[in-house]
């Protein structure tokens, strides 16, 4: 049954998945190419120096891409459920409602996790060729928080989209924006290291927010 849910979610999201993969791959390729080109033009010594002394990451342009992908993914996955109250069909399926919702959200989170970890791996493998381990680690650890924000943005957008009333949806959106904002302090590379486990735990817990929306939907809340 969960396989069938995944099948339905895949039909809805295959295009956004492919587009996201292309966008991430394109962005990552561009940024990696850029570092390679700069090394060719200015020499590895100079680029390493800039990275070490000025804490320049060279890939921070990709910062906002994961949350944007997270938001778009959630919209493509959950707006069709809310159109003409299709969610009623989903919730009427002879299966535990919690299990259905969890597998829908789980599907999206896993897909994004796949995309994001593939991107990070792509960065690491390519940067490691030209950068010493410590610098490559530094860049990846600095980037992890942006990708985690993409997962949270996905979960929070799902929560907002599934919410049945507009008033509450706007409040949810405000909370969501503030929460995602926490991931984007531009203080220094690896500034989030000690905070990451908490953010990770919170993101996992935030997947429960959709149940609030679904429960309000089932109670027939309206504006």
């Amino acid at each position: 049954m969960i396989k069938a849910i995944f099948y339905k979610e895949w039909i809805k999201t295959k295009w956004i998945f492919i587009l996201s993969a292309l966008a991430l791959f394109g962005f990552a390729s561009y940024l990696i190419f850029n570092v390679y080109r700069m090394i060719e033009l200015k020499g590895a010594v100079h680029i390493w120096e800039v990275m070490i002394q000025r804490d320049v990451l060279f890939i921070d342009m990709i910062r906002f891409v994961p949350p944007v992908i997270g938001i778009l993914f959630a919209i493509t996955q959950f707006v069709p459920e809310m159109q003409r109250k299709c969610l009623k069909l989903t919730l009427h399926l002879p299966c535990d409602a919690q299990k259905i919702i969890l597998s829908m959200v789980g599907y999206g989170a896993v897909m994004l996790l796949l995309l994001f970890s593939a991107t990070l791996a792509c960065f690491y493998v390519n940067l490691r060729i030209i950068l010493v381990e410590q610098i490559a680690n530094h860049i990846i650890l600095s980037a992890v928080v942006w990708f985690l924000s993409g997962i949270l943005a996905y979960l929070l957008t799902a929560w907002c989209v599934l919410e049945p009333t507009w008033k509450r949806r706007i409040l949810n959106a405000v909370v969501s924006i503030l929460l995602v904002k926490i991931f984007f302090y531009n203080v220094a590379g690896e500034a989030y290291n000690s905070f990451l486990p908490i953010l990770l735990l919170y993101t996992a817990m935030a997947s429960s927010f959709v149940f609030l929306s679904v429960s309000r939907f089932k109670e027939g809340k309206q504006d």
Binding site: V45, Y192, F195
Partner: protein, 352 residues
């Protein structure tokens, strides 16, 4: 599950309010910070305060008012260029004969920021060539890192380990009694300085070492630390006068100068300096140093003798107790924030 998410949402909203509402308050009530520029004058043996309130005002602690031109002459080292231009540069200060060139050579500005100490470290560093054959210093073409058993140099162009150089340096360090890995190190690998002293390094047992590269070879020197002193932070100086090698602070929050060549330790006569919490600024000249130590709570200025580092005078900036100040303090103390002026980390914390 619904109960769990409701509770989580309530807690989330509460935390967001604790974060955003105080921020809104301080944003709405933000005032321009009016801190005077404070400098010790060896001529009048007092601090002068320069503050902008409808025009620049210069006073000393006794309340005497100075014009800009008068101020220039009581700070002959700080305003040396201006005095030279006005052809007013003195022949002597406090009976000591001075020249413009000496004053330039002996003056320095140094700052220590907790933000630089409380910050994520990448873990690779650049060691310059201290005896460069060129007139100017050059960037090294490799980086080094400490492992549990050695020091390793990695060539940037090829991104490969330079085994020979690593072995040479490791051997030299080991021979000098260095215990791997390094606890902390301080260096300033910049080509925009007059000379290079490499790094001050604390090893795994908190012994202090001086490490530099001379003609490609390692120079390692273990520095004797005064009996009973446990060094916590080290700072390389590389001032133009080459008198000092660096500063150090210990676990008792004392502050020391390490002299160049002799590696002698001298305690500086300021009562306390905690590098993780206090920002320090030093305006030094050949006669005295003005040391500004600021913490979240207060700012204290010390005048210190440039030769024996004894304390000459202290000035603590008095803070007016206002109602809005009290409100601000309360708001700050109860607010949630993710960044802090004293470090480069992001994590949730309350108050300053």
């Amino acid at each position: 599950m619904k109960k769990f998410s409701s509770v989580l949402l309530i807690i989330t909203v509460a935390f967001l309010c604790l974060w955003q509402l105080p921020w809104l308050y301080s944003f709405a009530t933000a005032k321009k910070d009016k801190s005077p520029f404070v400098l010790y004058s060896p001529v009048i043996d007092d601090f002068t305060l320069s503050l902008y309130t409808d025009g620049m005002q210069h006073t000393d602690l006794s309340g005497n008012v100075y014009t800009q031109s008068e101020l220039d002459s009581i700070h002959p080292f700080f305003y040396a260029r201006q005095l030279l231009k006005d052809e007013r540069f003195p022949d002597s200060v406090k009976g000591i004969p001075v020249t413009y060139k000496d004053s330039q050579n002996e003056s320095f500005y140094y700052r220590i920021n907790p933000k630089d100490i409380n910050a994520p470290q990448i873990g690779v560093y650049q060691l310059m060539e201290s005896m460069s054959s060129r007139v100017k210093l050059e960037s090294p073409d490799d980086v080094f890192r400490f492992t549990k058993k050695s020091i390793e140099f990695i060539d940037a162009e090829t991104n490969t380990l330079n085994s020979d150089k690593s072995a040479r340096f490791t051997e030299m360090l080991s021979k000098s009694g260095f215990v791997f890995p390094a606890n902390s190190l301080s260096g300033n690998p910049s080509v925009k300085k007059d000379y290079d002293e490499g790094y001050l390094v604390l090893d795994a047992e908190n012994n202090l070492f001086h490490l530099k590269q001379t003609v490609g070879r390692p120079y390692v020197r273990k520095i004797d630390i005064p009996e009973g002193v446990k060094i916590k932070n080290i700072f390389i100086t590389e001032f133009r006068n080459r008198k000092s090698l660096g500063f150090a602070s210990d676990t008792e929050n004392n502050f020391y100068v390490i002299e160049n060549k002799t590696y002698d330790f001298h305690k500086i006569g300021i009562p306390e300096f905690i590098p993780e919490k206090n920002a320090m600024m030093i305006y030094g000249n050949m006669v005295d140093w003005t040391i500004k130590v600021s913490s979240v709570e207060k700012v204290v200025y010390y005048a210190v003798d440039a030769n024996d580092y004894s304390l000459i005078k202290t000035y603590e900036e008095a803070e007016e107790e206002t109602f809005s100040g009290k409100v601000s303090k309360f708001v700050t103390a109860t607010s949630l924030r993710f960044t802090h002026p004293l470090d480069k980390y992001v994590y949730p914390r309350f108050g300053l």
